[in-house]
Amino acid sequence: MKKRQLNVRRLYSPGIGWIFLFFGLFFILFPVYATATIHENTVLNVDLIITGVVTDSKTGEPLTGVSVIPKGTTNGTITDDNGMYKIQTKENSTLIFSAVGYISQEIIVNRRVIINVALQGGISNLNEVVVIGYGKQKASNITGAIAKISAQDLDERPTSRIDHAMAGKLSGVQVQEISGTPGKAFSVKVRGTSSISNSSSPLYVVDGYPISSGLDNINPNDIESIEVLKDAASAAIYGSRGSSGVVLITTKTGKGGKPVLQFDANYGIQERFSKVDVLNRDEYIAFAIEERNNTWKLQGGNPSDPNSARSSSNYWIDPLWLTNPSSFPDNDWQDLISRKAPVQNYQLSASGSNENVKYFISGNYFNQQGIILNSYYKRLSFRANVETKIGKRVNLGLNLFANSLNSNDNGSDGNSGPVSRSTRVAPIVGLTQQTEAGGYYPFHAAFYLNPIALAKEITNETNGKNILANIFTTINLAKNLSLRSSLGANYTDAFVQYYLPNDINRGVGSNGRISSSYVENYLNENILTYNIEKSSWNVNALAGFTYQDSKTVSEFLDKGGFPDDEIRTLNMGTILNSGSSSATAWSLMSFLSRISTSWKNKYLLSASIRRDGSSRFGADNQWGWFPALSVGWRIGQETFMQKVDFINEMKLRASYGTAGNNSIGDYAAIGSLSSANYVIGLNQGVVPGFIPGSFSNRTLGWEKTYTFDVGLDLSVFSNRISMSFDYYRADVKDLLLNVQIPPISGFSSAVSNVGAIRNTGLELELNTANLTGRFKWNTSFNISHNKNKVIALGSNGAPIYGNGGYNFIVTITQIGKPIGSYYMFQQNGVFKDQKDFDLHPHYKTQNIGDIKYEDINGDGVIDADDRTIVGNNSPKYFWGLQNSFSYQNFDLAVSMDGQWGNKLLDIGNSQAGQSRGNVDGYWRERWRSPEDPGNGWVPRAAVTSNLTTPSTFWLRDASYLRVRTIALGFSVPRSFIAKVKGISGLRLFASVDNVFMHDHFNHNPQTGTYSNTNTNPGVDFDSAYPLARTFTFGITVKF
C-alpha cells in the first residue's frame, strides 16, 4: 500500500516527460520550407519607374529606411519617412526589399508600376538596436548577456503591471506569481537567488532612471521595450546595484512622421480559475466526530464521555451532528466570496515626430475588479515624452509620468483573511455566523471568522500617487562628442486606510489605522559620450558622474474606541492605540566609464568600470570599484564562413565582471538602540529607556557578484532560425548575513559580509519563423536552468534555518546545498496496523494511524537528526513558449510557460487536520482503522504531533505547465477602413488568459504567502488569492 502511494506521487511529477513532449511537438510541427523559385523573363525588358509603400506586416506602420535594390545591381534606394520609395528598373527585374530586423523579400516586378510591400519582422534580433546601461548598441555588437522583449511581444491582455507581463517571456528571468491579488507585485529573479539576507530582485531602470519604489511607476501600455542585463559584465555599469540583474524599461517615443492618435480599449471578464478541495457538510461532520473523539482519547478521555466531562470545547461534539446532520447548511464558502469581475483598460495616445520635435503623450485608465468580493485595483496614468531641438547643438527633453492608484485588498493573502477562511470555516456554519452580530458556532474555532464578512467589512484601501519626471539635455560639444545631462525626481506616496469593524474583531472593538509613506528620490546624471565610426573599426566611449539621493518618510496611526462603524475615519476613534512616524535616507554617488569597440565588424570588445560611494556602507568602506570586460567574435563574418551560406550570423561572446548589491538597509552599518520604556513614579509616567539593538560594523559593505558568461548567438536560414545560448557561473561573495553569534555577546546575530553562494546555469532562446508565406507562423521558446549552491556561511558555517510558523523549522541554508532547501522529516506512509507500528521506530507519542517518518540515519530512533533536505522551491527548469500565427488579417498568439523540479511547502497542513474548522479534501483518504487504512498516506483524524511536525506530508510538487494566453486578433483591411474618413487603422482582438494549467497545488504552485524570502522560500499557508481566468475583448483604433 505504501509503495503504491509513493509511485502514484512519482507519476504525477512531470520530469523528463515534458521535455520530450515539448521538443517533440516543436520538431514534428516544424515546417517544410517552401522554396520559391524565381522565373526570369528575358523576352521584354523595358525600364519602368516603380513606386510604393513599405509597411510593417504586423502593425501596418510605414517603414523608413528600407533598402530597395534591383537584384544583381548596386543602385538601390531607401524608403522615406512615410515608407515611400521610387525606383527605376527593368520591367522583368526582381526587387529586393531589406531592412534591419525584417525578413528580406524578393518581388518580381512583372510590369507593375506600383508595388506595396509588407515586411515581416524577423525572428533574429541580432540587427536590432538594444538598450544597454547608459546607452544603446546594435545587437550584433553586444558582448554581454541581454534578454529583450519588445512591445509587440507583450501579450494582448490587460495587465496591471509589467512584471505580470514579463512572465515566461525571457530566459533566465523567473517571474513568480505569488498571488492573484489585483495589482500585487510578483517576485522577479534574474539567474537565481543572488543574496541570502537581502533583496534578490533586479534593479529597474525606467528611461535611464533607476527607480527604487517598485513598478507602480510604469504603465505597461507605454512600454516600447524591456531589456534585462543578466551577466555582471552588462550590469557592472550599474555598480553596487547590478548584482541581481538590471531591467531596463524604455517607454515609447514619437516616430514615423505624421502624428498618430491611437485609442485602445479592452474589456475583460475574470472568473475564478481554481478552488481548493475541502470537505462538504457530511464529510466534515464525520471527520469532526472522529477527530474529536480520537483527540479526547489522546488526552486520556473516553469517546463515550459527554461534552460536560471533556476538558475543552476542542473535544466537544454537537449532539445535532449525531441526531440530525442534515439540519446544517452545506455552504461552499469559496463560491460565496467569489464573483465574476470585470477588468477594463483604456488608453489614448498621440505620437509623432519631425526634425525638431518628438513626442509621445498618453493617458490610461485601468480598472480591475477582483474575483474576491470587495477587492479592486484602479489606476489613472499619464505620460508625456517630449524632446525638442534648440539650435543645432542642443536637444532638450522631458519624460514625465504621473499616476494615481486606488486599490482595496481585504487581507486576502493573509492567513486569517477571507481566502484562507473560505477553506477553513466549516460548511455547516451559517451564512452570518462567526461574527459578533451573527454569533459564534460554539463547536467551531471562534477565530475562524466568517469569510463573507471578512471580505465585505474590512477596508484596506491604498491610494498612491507617483510622479517620475526627468528633464534632460544633449549637447553636441564637438564632432563625435556629446554631453547628456539630466535632472530627475521621483515622488511616490502611498496612503493606506485600514478599518476592522467590531463585527469581525471578536468583540475587541473596532480598530482603525492609517499608514502613509512618501519617497522622494532625486537623480542627476552627466554623461559624456564619444563616438567614432570608421569603415573598419569604431569606438564608443563614455564617462560620467551620477548622484542619487532618496528619503523615505512613513507614519502610522492606530485608533480604537469607535462608537459604531458608520464613519471609518480616525477622528471617530476615541482611544489612540499607537502612532508614530519615521524616516530613512540614502545617497549614492558614482563615476562610470565604458569603452566599446569593434574591429572589422568581427572582433568586439567592451570594458566598463564604475566607482560607487554609498551612504549605506560602513564609514571605513564607503567606496567600491565595479569593473567588467567582455569580448565577442562574429565568426559568421569571417571569410572562411562566407561559404557556409545558411549561416547568417554566428557570434561567440565571453564576459567577466563584477556588480554589487547595496540593498542592505539604510543604516545597517550603524549599531542601533532599541526603545525599551518603563513606567516610573507615583503618577505612572512612561519614561523612555534604551538598550543596544544591534552591533556596529564600520566595514560593512556591498555584496559582490562575479559573473563569468559565455554565449553563442546563431542565426541561420535567412534569419529564419535564430538561437542564443548562454552558460554562466555567478559567484556571489561577501554576502551580508545576519550571522548567528554567541548570544552572550548581547545579540543572537550580527550582520557582516561573510557568505558566498554560486549560481550556475544554462539558458537557451530559440526563435523560428516556421512559415513565412501568406500563412505565417513564428515560434519563440526559452528555457532556463539554474543551480544554486551555498559556498560559505557565518564564521563557523552554521546553517540558517527558516521557520514555518510556531517555531517549526522547515528550511535550511547549508553549505554545499541550494539556499533555502526544504528540511524536514521524510514521510514513509502511515502506520497501518500494530505490526507496521512495531516494525518501525516512532516519534514522540505516535501510535497506529500516525505518519511514519523515515529513519534517515538508521539509528532506530526518530529524532531531530532524521530531518533531511527534501527539495527546493527553485525550479530546476523553467520555460516559455510563444507561437504566433497570422493569415491575411488574422493573427493568433498562444503563450505557454511552465517550470519543473521544484517543491512548495503548505504549512496550512499544520492547521488542517483539526476539526475546529474545515479541512482539505485529501482527509477523505485518511486512516480510519487497520481495516480501513485509507490511501496509506493521510494519517488518522486526531490532533497529534502529525500536525505540528513538519514532514513531506506538507510538501507539494510545484511543477506546472500552463497555457497562459490565447489571443486572436483581426486587423481590419486598409481597403475597408480607407472608406471611413480619419481612421487609419482598426484592430480587434479577443483573448483568454490562464486557459489551462496542469499542476499539483490549487492552480497556484508559485505561491508562498507565509514566507517567500531567499532563505525561507515557498512557504505557503494555503491562503493565496486565487488566480483568475480572464476573457478579454479589445479594439485599437488609429486616427
Partner: protein
C-alpha cells in the same frame, strides 16, 4: 534663434549641474534620522538614566511580558499541565530537548539585557554627573544584572559570566562558569547595589530598586544558595537581611489577602519590589491577566462572569492537583482561581478552573492591564525569614509559627500548632504547601521545589497519573539543557548532563 542666448542657457545649465555635483559630494555620510545609535550614547547623565530604564524594561520582559517566564517555571511545576500545542507542553511533560525554541529565546533575552547593563557600567564612570546619582544608576544596573544571572543560574546552571561589553570575536571564546561562580557574581552585584542604592525615591521616581529591594533579593539568593545544589548553609546571612527589612517599618503585612492583588493598593507597602505597568500606553500594559485566562472565556466584564477582552490560547492550564490541594475555606483559592466562568458559547463552565490572579483594575485592551506584577512581596520576605528560622533551629510555636499562622489566618484558615507540626521536616512541608497557595502562578513554585530538592518526589507523584512519570529521570532535570543554538554556535560550551 539667438546663438549667444543659447550658449548662455547652456552655461547656466552646466553651472547648475556643477552645483548639484558639489552639493552631492558632502551627502554620503547619512546618520539615522529616526533611530538613536549606539555610538554617541552612554555619554550624558540623561542617557545613562535611559539605559537604566531599559534595564527595568528588561526585568519586565523576562519576568512577565515574555512568555518564557511562566513557560519555564510555572509550567514546569505541579501547578499546571500545559497542552501539547506550545513549547510549555514539552516543559510540563518533562520532554524538553535542547532545540526547544523558548530555551534559546530565554537565553538570548537574558544576555541581551545583561549586555545593556554591562555597557552602562563600563561607560558610567566617565560620564559627568553627580556622584550620588552615578552610584544610584550603577547600583540599579548591578541590581538588574544580578537578577538576570539569578534566573539564568537557576534555569541553566553554571552559565558563562560576562560583566563587560565584549566583541563578537571574544564571545566565541567565553566558557561556562560554575554555579558557584555565578552565585558569587550575583552576591557581589547585590552587595554593591545595597551600598549604592537609596532607601527610597521621590514621587516621580518610585518603582526603581531601593536598598530594601536589593537586600530582599540578596536574602533570597542566600536562601537559594543554602538549598540545592550548593547547600551552603547561609541561613544566618539570609535571615539577617530579612530581619532588617522586617524591622525597617517600611513594609506592611496586609490584613486581607485579596488586597495584595487589588489594583487600588498596588503601590502600597506590601511590595518590596514590583514590575510596573500602565494600561493604554503603547505596550506598557500588563498581559498577565489576559494571557493566563482560558481562551474560551467570554469577553465581557468579570461581574458578568467573563473577562474584558477575553483570554488567550497561551493560558495556564491549571492542574487538578493544585485546585484540589486547597483546604476548605482557604480564600486564596478564590482570589487565585476562577472556578466558574462564562464560556463564549454562553454556557457557564465549572469544570475547568482558570487563573484569576491580577484580574483587577483598569484594562483598555487584551494584554493591556494597568496592574503591577509583584516580584518580591513582603509576605515572601516574611515567609523566607520563617523558613530561615526553621532551618536554623526548629522552635515549636516560635516566631516562624507566628509568621506562617498569620499567613494562614489571613487566608481564613485556622492556625497550626506545634502538635500538628512537630518537627523541622514537617514545618518544611507546611511551608512548601503554604507557599504554593500563597504564591500560586507567581513563578515561584518550581524554583522552591528545586532548592528544597523536593522536585523529584513531588513531580514524579504529579506526573505519574498523566502517564508521564517515566519522563522524569533525575535531578539533572532540575535545570534545562543549554539551548541547541548556543551549542551550535559555540561548541566550547558544554551541554548539561542528561540532555
Amino acid at each position: 534663434m539667438n546663438k549667444r542666448l543659447i550658449y548662455g542657457k547652456i552655461q547656466i545649465v552646466c553651472f547648475y549641474f556643477l552645483l548639484t555635483i558639489l552639493a552631492g559630494c558632502s551627502k554620503l555620510d547619512k546618520v539615522p534620522i529616526s533611530q538613536k545609535s549606539v555610538e554617541g550614547f552612554y555619554q550624558t547623565e540623561n542617557q545613562i538614566n535611559q539605559a537604566v530604564i531599559g534595564g527595568y524594561n528588561g526585568l519586565r520582559t523576562v519576568w512577565v511580558t515574555s512568555q518564557t517566564s511562566y513557560m519555564l517555571t510555572e509550567s514546569r511545576s505541579d501547578n499546571t499541565m500545559q497542552g501539547v500545542a506550545y513549547d510549555d507542553g514539552a516543559v510540563s511533560r518533562f520532554e524538553v530537548k535542547p532545540d526547544l525554541a523558548i530555551l534559546s529565546t530565554a537565553w538570548s533575552q537574558y544576555y541581551h539585557y545583561i549586555n545593556s547593563c554591562n555597557q552602562l557600567l563600563k561607560a558610567s564612570p566617565n560620564v559627568q554627573m553627580d556622584d550620588i546619582k552615578r552610584k544610584q544608576y550603577e547600583g540599579e544596573a548591578k541590581f538588574q544584572r544580578a537578577l538576570f544571572y539569578f534566573d539564568l543560574v537557576r534555569l541553566f546552571g553554571g552559565v558563562p559570566i560576562v560583566t563587560t561589553p565584549i566583541t563578537i570575536k571574544e564571545s566565541y571564546g567565553v566558557k561556562r562558569s560554575t554555579v558557584e561562580d555565578v552565585y558569587n557574581l550575583i552576591v557581589k552585584d547585590l552587595t554593591e547595589a545595597i551600598e549604592d542604592l537609596p532607601l527610597s525615591y521621590n514621587d516621580t521616581n518610585t518603582g526603581r530598586a531601593t536598598k530594601w529591594a536589593a537586600k530582599g533579593f540578596l536574602g533570597k539568593v542566600y536562601l537559594f544558595r543554602s538549598g540545592y545544589p550548593l547547600q551552603k548553609n547561609e541561613w544566618e546571612k539570609a535571615s539577617a537581611l530579612f530581619k532588617e527589612i522586617i524591622n525597617s517599618g517600611q513594609f506592611q503585612f496586609f490584613a486581607n489577602y485579596e488586597d495584595i492583588y487589588n489594583f487600588s493598593f498596588e503601590s502600597d507597602k506590601q511590595q518590596v519590589f514590583s514590575i510596573k505597568f500602565k494600561a493604554g500606553a503603547n505596550g506598557n500594559g500588563n498581559p498577565f491577566p489576559t494571557r493566563n485566562a482560558s481562551n474560551d472565556i467570554k469577553p465581557v466584564s468579570s461581574a458578568q462572569g467573563g473577562l474584558p477582552f477575553g483570554g488567550s490560547p497561551y493560558n495556564l492550564f491549571l492542574s487538578g492537583d493544585l485546585v484540589n490541594s486547597y483546604e476548605d475555606g482557604d480564600i486564596r483559592k478564590e482570589v487565585s482561581i476562577l472556578s466558574s466562568w462564562l464560556h463564549k458559547s454562553g454556557e457557564i463552565i465549572t469544570t475547568l478552573p482558570t487563573c484569576k490572579k491580577y484580574q483587577n483594575g483598569t484594562v483598555v485592551a487584551a494584554n493591556d492591564w494597568d496592574i503591577d506584577w509583584i516580584a518580591l512581596s513582603y509576605t515572601d520576605v516574611l515567609m523566607m525569614y520563617a523558613e530561615c528560622l526553621n532551618e536554623l533551629s526548629y522552635v515549636p510555636s516560635g516566631e516562624s509559627f507566628t509568621i506562617l499562622n498569620n499567613v494562614r489566618q489571613r487566608a481564613k484558615l485556622s492556625p497550626k500548632t506545634a502538635t500538628e507540626i512537630p518537627d523541622q521536616q514537617s514545618f518544611r512541608l507546611w511551608m512548601e504547601k503554604e507557599r504554593r497557595h500563597e504564591f500560586a502562578f507567581e513563578n515561584l513554585r518550581w524554583f522552591d521545589l528545586v532548592r528544597t530538592d523536593r522536585a523529584l518526589d513531588v513531580m514524579k507523584h504529579f506526573l505519574t497519573p498523566y502517564g508521564f512519570g517515566a519522563n522524569l529521570k533525575g535531578k539533572e532535570q532540575y535545570i534545562y539543557p543549554i539551548p541547541q543554538s548556543v551549542i551550535d554556535v559555540t561548541p566550547s560550551i558544554e551541554q548539561n548532563p542528561g540532555y
